[in-house]
């Protein structure tokens, strides 16, 4: 890790490629991670091109065509209101991916600020901030998000905030821990000896080295975020907007027809599972690519 040694030992051609290029090459050779990336790419394409691909308007249905099984006209059948399920799953990718990604971004942003201040400042500031994250971590899993949505009310922004806030303590803890370890590293001491200000040490020397675990964690968090967002929708805390299709809400709406129309549960369910698998595979692959020692 320490840089002076790397200079003395005259880096080989391999080492000179740099961390990210090496990581990228390893990632491209990791089969499961590629499968994950392809999964995600398909869903992103579906989300972006929903208006082009979708054969029907996801919000308009013909009541007389309600609850039809999958057919050539309706690949995934139709829901109770006669809306085309395939089109709704496609448009659902927009909502689920956007809400999931933005939620994790919120969590990453809140958590990084708290973690960076705590890990950078140390002392009393650190103690106070960590007690606050302890309190938030004490509320298990999705329950915190449920409480926040119950408080903020319905809507996409509220869900993003709720899931984001519930993830923030995890990122804060992770970043703080990494920063505390890095503060003692030789390059940090060297920077300090050169008279760099604490802010400069934090932003220029410590943060770039602390980013990798955050990126891996964020990728894995995308998988759980998509599941959690769908979970909120399932519990009736979704966007609550009849004009948008959301995978979790689609499941709840169809749960009553499990017996007569199981495909209405199957397709949105499969969409959630496949996108979560995609992010899990990619996250695991990224972790192994960035830190090959972890390869099991």
């Amino acid at each position: 890790m320490s840089q002076p040694i790397a200079i003395v030992t005259r880096p080989t051609a391999r080492a000179s490629r740099g961390l990210w290029r090496d990581a990228f090459r390893r990632l491209m050779r990791n089969g499961p991670a590629l499968v994950g990336a392809v999964c995600i790419a398909i869903f992103v394409a579906a989300a972006v091109l929903a208006s082009v691909i979708a054969p029907y308007d996801p919000t308009l249905g013909v009541l007389a065509d309600g609850k039809q099984g999958p057919s050539l006209a309706h690949l995934m059948g139709t829901d109770l209101l006669g809306r085309d399920e395939f089109s709704r799953v496609l448009y659902g990718a927009r909502i689920s991916l956007t809400v999931g990604v933005v939620a994790v971004f919120f969590g990453l942003a809140f958590g990084s600020v708290v973690g960076a201040v705590a890990g950078g400042a140390g002392g009393k500031v650190d103690a106070v901030l960590m007690r606050v994250t302890d309190v938030l971590l004490a509320i298990p899993g999705i329950l915190l998000a449920i409480g926040i949505v119950a408080w903020l009310g319905h809507g996409q922004l509220q869900i993003m905030l709720a899931v984001g806030i519930s993830y923030a303590p995890i990122f804060a803890r992770l970043l703080r821990g990494t920063l505390l370890a890095l503060r003692e590293a030789d390059f940090a001491t060297a920077a300090r000896a050169e008279g760099a200000t604490p802010a400069r040490i934090l932003l220029r020397h410590l943060m770039p080295n602390a980013l990798t675990p955050l990126i891996v964690q964020a990728t894995l968090a995308l998988a759980t975020a998509i599941i959690d967002v769908a979970g909120l929708g399932f519990l009736g805390l979704g966007p609550g907007d009849p004009r948008v299709a959301e995978w979790g809400e689609m499941l709840t709406d169809s749960a009553r027809f499990l017996q007569s129309a199981p495909y209405l549960i199957f397709f949105p369910g499969a969409a959630i599972v496949l996108s979560a698998i995609g992010f899990n595979l990619l996250g695991d692959g990224l972790r192994e690519a960035i830190d090959p020692r972890l390869k099991r």
Binding site: R131, V132, D134, V135, A138, I139, P140, G141, I142, L143, L144, I146, G147, A150, W151, G153, A223, I227, A230, G231, F234, L235, G236, L237, G248, L251, A255, L258, Q259, P262, I265, F266, G269, I272, V273, A276, I277, N280, L281, R296
Partner: protein, 334 residues
Amino acid sequence: MLRFIVRRVIGAIPVLFGLSIILFLFLRLLPGDPAEAILGQHATPELTAQIRTTLGLDQPLYVQYVNYLVRLLHGDFGSSFVDGKSVADTFLVRFPGTIELTIGALIFAVGLGIPLGRLAARHPNGWVDGIVTVVSLFGISIPIFVLGYTLVFVFGVQLHWLPALGQSDPRLGIPQVTHFAVIDALLTGRPNAIIDSFSHLVLPSIALGSIPLAIVTRITRASVIDVANEDYVRTARAKGLAERRVDDRHIMRNAWLPVATVIGLQVGGLLAGAVLTETVFSWNGVGSWVVSAIQNHDYIVVQSLILIFATIFLFVNLIVDISYAFLNPRIRYS
């Protein structure tokens, strides 16, 4: 050891304290007038006035908080305005259902996860390992409610193998004594009631246990592979011990520790997962109560339940830490 336990218990107090402040503010900072927000569409002048007095909304904020804290310490979590019953009473009736579900899920996850992890570790990167890895990938990627409905559809609706909803068949007329469905059934001494209560537990336990199953499997596999490469395992094999004995005595004994810790850490996730599982399976527990309280805007119940869940979670983590110290004599208690 005692000092370690005392210090951990004391360490949990500020967290609980912070939680009580946040949840206190949760209720007071609801948009608009708290009393009207709490009552929502049920608001009548009398009820609003009643809530105002109960919560002491006319007093300064810090007095309100102190009163809230004093009531909490007396075990008074307030009352639901929907049915007027005290949160504590309803909790005692509904919590047993959640405990049963959590235990069922843990048994499923541990009972299957440890053997699967050991099996996968026997030949790392072999085909068995591949299958186990895929299964555990599904376990962490499938939402509880998707798995739950799939199980209900396959085993309840199509095959009729297992009951899909509820804790027991109401036609059996099992008297509710302890509110633990299984124990109540055992108390009747009737075999059909006992079988009925256990069979109701199967599908929800699998749905709730899928994530911990995946995690326990992964950790067991990694831990066993780790230990299997140790010198003393090679020594044990070299001196001609039977493979079974090496497995049980030399590998598992040392591979246990991370597995035990992870099992303990799953409890918090299980409590949160119970919210979804109980909703899918119409399970009469605390989780489905949280959901109905939110749908009814029964904020006092929501507030109290989050506090109770968090307290249980902290308590369980405390027990995990302490038992970890017991299991591993090498750990330092400082």
